[in-house]
């Protein structure tokens, strides 16, 4: 048994030229056929698919960005519109107030004017009345003088009573 261990033909260690030849030929054929008809097309298809997926992802990302940008723009517009509205409202209020103020002032002015006019008129009338009184008094004085002139002719006592009476008259006038 012992010598069999040494003598056993370990033939797989001895490369057979026939097997080398067939391995070479078969491997070359498999490599050629599979490389051309399977591995290269698969490689290209996988690469194309990966690129497609990447492109789709990129596009989706871009769309999302566009969307958010649009949204931001909308918000901006809305905000601007709101600001505009507030501004317009404020302006309107201001205008209203200024109009009221103006109107008030105008009315005040008008009133003052009316009062002044009235005063002026009153003054005029007073002046007129005064003039009239003066004229009256003048006329009266002339009348008194006339009457006195006449009364002189009748006596002093009567004269004095007459003058007093006349003065009284003037006063009452």
């Amino acid at each position: 048994m012992a010598h069999m261990l040494i003598l056993a033909d370990f033939s797989v260690m001895k490369p057979d030229p026939g097997l080398v030849f067939w391995t070479f030929l078969i491997f070359l054929l498999v490599w050629g056929i599979l490389g051309r008809a399977a591995f290269r097309p698969i490689q290209n298809a996988l690469k194309k698919r990966e690129q497609d997926i990447q492109n789709s992802l990129d596009e989706a990302k871009k769309a999302r960005e566009d969307m958010s940008q649009l949204q931001a723009q909308n918000e901006q517009l809305l905000k601007q519109a709101q600001e505009e509205r507030t501004k317009i409202l404020k302006e309107a209020k201001d205008t209203k107030e200024s109009i009221i103020k103006e109107a008030k002032e105008e009315a005040k002015g008008e009133a003052q004017k009316i009062v002044a006019d009235a005063k002026a008129q009153i003054n005029n009338m007073r002046m007129e009345a005064l003039t009239n009184i003066r004229n009256e008094v003048g006329t009266m004085a002339v009348d008194i003088a006339e009457k006195m002139m006449r009364a002189k002719l009748e006596g002093d006592k009567e004269q004095e009573a007459l003058v007093a009476k006349l003065v009284e008259e003037i006063k009452f006038n």
Binding site: I6, V12, D16, T23, F24, Q43
Partner: protein
């Protein structure tokens, strides 16, 4: 958990049964050996001989007890020319055709010119030991004629060498390789068809099963080893190497026809595969690579020639390690399984002791089941290692100069 353990039991049972198949194989072969070999008969069960016979290449495919698939023999003897025939014509060693005889499944040749040509009946094939070497003789008309083994390329270092003829037959290994290649081509062509038909769609069917393999080899082997820019050129080669080795490994694990051939456990096969890697690596080697091999920059001039010798030897050692690693792993696996099966015959005293044989069958069967699972792992692992190392050698040869500078600093 329950399902897993149940499945494991089934797997174990299948592997044990498979082990018994191999038992049947071994026994059948052994009895046929006994018939044609007197020396073996005297010595009883020869475990090493049986194992070596089972892992060896053969010119006929043993299917079942007494059933052999004949394979075409293509033989060349210098001065005699080419001879082609089916191995069935040699009648398992009972007939000689033009001096060619089937000895232990392999074609041998009687170089003696006095031996008659054409088809002749021969007697026993006798085994002798001469100067520590196995020599076989064929009996014919009371005379013994020496049988030459086919030539081998080991240069006589391993007991082989150039003999009187060369065997270019479709042997068991070549047959299995062809089968693996046909399977590979069928599988990958249908996968490629899926990419044409499902263009722009999600992968389906066999395409989605094999796509992860492709992307695994691309993302874990070729791209990291060769680089993003250059990997595409080498991806088909690495894929072919990986799947060729894997399919041959897996077919080798099937213990019955059409499997069981020890293809990747044969040095001729791994040598040829390693040669492909060697040639591709060095044909694609750039200036930077050869500069580093022949005249390493950045070191003292005195050390340069020394390193050159080491580097040039390294060129050969790299594919050499590929060759030995795959061969040794696969052969070792086959040898262990066959040895465990051999326990049945050893314990059973070669059929004399039924109790011993039963014990051997139980022990050997369970260990074989365990080994088969490990071998399944090894089949994938060795294919992966062959692929990744080939890719790393190619990557080293095609690496750009500035990359290396970046690493150095």
């Amino acid at each position: 958990m329950k399902v897993i353990s149940k499945r494991f039991c089934i797997l174990l049972a299948v592997t044990v049964l498979v082990g018994f198949n191999q038992y049947a194989f071994a026994q059948e072969n052994h009895t046929s050996d006994v018939g044609s070999d007197q020396t073996d008969e005297e010595e009883g069960y020869d475990p090493v001989g049986v194992v070596m016979h089972h892992i060896a290449d053969a010119n006929e495919f043993h299917v079942w007890k007494g059933v052999h698939l004949p394979l075409p023999c293509i033989l060349y003897a210098p001065g005699h020319g080419w001879t082609t025939m089916l191995s069935s014509k040699l009648d398992h060693g009972h007939k000689a055709v033009d001096g060619y005889v089937l000895n232990h499944g392999r074609v041998n040749r009687i170089a003696d010119p006095s031996f008659p040509g054409g088809e002749v009946e021969i007697g026993h094939i006798n085994h002798h030991v001469e100067d520590g070497k196995d020599v076989y003789y064929a009996e014919y008309q009371g005379q013994e004629y020496k049988l030459d083994k086919p030539s081998t390329l080991d240069g006589g270092l391993l007991g082989g060498g150039i003999t009187s003829f060369y065997d270019f037959s479709i042997t068991k290994n070549v047959f299995t390789m062809l089968l693996a290649s046909i399977l590979l081509i069928l599988v990958w062509l249908s996968v490629a068809k899926g990419y044409r038909e499902n263009d722009g769609k999600a992968p389906s069917g066999i395409q989605s099963f094999f796509e992860p393999f492709f992307t695994f080899i691309r993302d874990e082997v070729t791209v990291p080893m060769i680089g993003e820019q250059k990997y595409e050129r080498f991806q088909p080669f690495i894929m072919t190497v990986f799947f060729f080795v894997l399919f041959c490994n897996l077919l080798g694990l099937i213990p019955i026809f059409p499997g069981s051939a020890n293809v990747t456990g044969n040095l001729a096969v791994t040598m040829t595969l390693a040669l492909f890697t060697f040639v591709i690596t060095n044909l694609n080697g750039n200036k930077h690579y050869w500069e580093h091999v022949l005249w390493m920059p950045g070191i003292p001039a005195l050390v340069k020639p020394l390193l050159s010798i080491v580097e040039v030897l390294g060129l050969i050692f790299k594919p050499f390690s590929l060759m030995i690693r795959l061969f040794a792993n696969i052969s070792a696996g086959h040898i262990i399984i066959l040895s465990l099966i051999g326990l049945i015959f050893l314990f059973g005293n070669n059929g004399q002791n039924l109790g011993g044989a039963t014990a051997g069958a139980i022990v050997g069967g369970f260990f074989t089941a365990f080994m088969n699972l490990i071998e399944l792992l090894v089949a994938f692992l060795q294919a992966y290692i062959f692929a990744i190392l080939s890719a790393s050698y190619i990557g080293a040869a095609t690496e750009d100069a500035h990359h290396d500078e970046a690493h150095a600093h």
